[in-house]
Amino acid sequence: MESRFRVLFLIVAMISLSGCAATKNLFGFDSREETSPTAEPPGQVIDPEVERREVKEPAIDREDFEVGAFAGIMSIEDFGSDLSYGLRLAYHITEGFFVETTAGYSRAGKTSFEILSGGAELISDSERDLYYYNLNLGYNILPGEVFLGEGRAYNTSLYLIAGLGSTTFAGDDRFTVNFGAGYRFLLTDSVALHLDFRDHLFDIDLLGEEKTAHNLEGHLGITVFF
């Protein structure tokens, strides 16, 4: 199996390298042809002296990035629920899709085993710190408006996210899949409030057998577009 892959790979490599040998613009020796300025047409006698208005246009402020912070509650499976907080950075690619990265912190409490056994600890104090980061793809599935009273309208969006990341918890870095839904409430065109619910899934074998732990998190956040 492995040798077959190698043969396949060598064939692909040879094909691309043959393309490489043929190409002239390796390392910047670019063959992009520049069109030489054509000579003045012979019939033209009068040189029109029109003063062109040189206007330097101010650049348009692009606000596709969104940065902010959040705080809420994270339920760590078997370890109770605790305060969680973190940071979020998002980039809006289209009106629908965005990519997002979040980094968060929470701290695990005690398992019921630890409480009942009276003092026996499964993990040390520093291992109760839970850090995570995620790289997500999001989609604004239900954009819309809400109305407060008669005179105020705010843009909102319900979005879905899913992605991958890592969670450091109980003495190990754990491959983490997370997904969830959120609600974005735009106070102004550049400031938004968020309400998010996410499930972080990772494998853990701390309590004897390996299992996939569901760690639900709900948080409120504020972000600024820039």
Binding site: D61, E63, A69, Y91, F113, G171, D172, S190
Partner: protein
Amino acid sequence: MSEPSTTIIPSTPQPTKSAWFGYAAAVVLQVFLGAAVFAADDELRTVTVADPYLEMHTGPGRGYPVFHVVDRGESVDVVMQRTDWYLVRTDNGKEGWVDREQMELTLQPDGEQFSFERASIEDFTNARWETGILAGDFGGANIISLYGSYSMNPNISFELWGSQILGNFSNGWMANANVVHEAWPEWRISPFFTLGTGYIHTEPKSTIVQGEDRSDQIGHVGGGFRIYATRRFLLRAEYKSYVVFTSRDENEEVEEWKVGFAFFF
């Protein structure tokens, strides 16, 4: 369950992590302050409506209703842009979102048509910078990678990769620098060939084996495809074969498969 003490994993204090959070918070604070400074700068681009009218929507997206129209000949200020939508302000202070197709039909003060950058398949070939996220399998372990790329020309680019490896028996980090050659960069599905070197750090899981942390140099060869999706978006799939130059007698070989997405700018 056996003696609880047997399940206690030796702890390693990690004070640096909270420090990292502090730095990140400082960066965010700076961004907030920076945004305030930008807001003070109030010079806006003005365009004149050349189409019969310009439709202003209540939000930057599909479905938001038109609440105001600006007639031909009137001018509006462009406040900002978000994805394909422009926030414009009329002379009497009304603000609304206009889509790209309509903005294309407005005129700038010099009489030229409104111009803007729009990413296309040509930028897919010619853009200088690219960044993306890939995930996949690294010799049986999960791998998450982030990369940045700089193109010298459409055919040759340099990349820097940072990866986290999360396996059943060990975790680790990997950093790589590599050169990428694309023989047909103008193709929508563009195959590439890559060669590079780097550094890998592995930490065996303390619960399973009593191994030592190792740092080794690695070399790799690989290939894959960059696939243009839309706008400034591309998909990427690749295979790499790594050789880990271990300090033991034998070198290790690791195969890696990854898919992900990237965008260029």
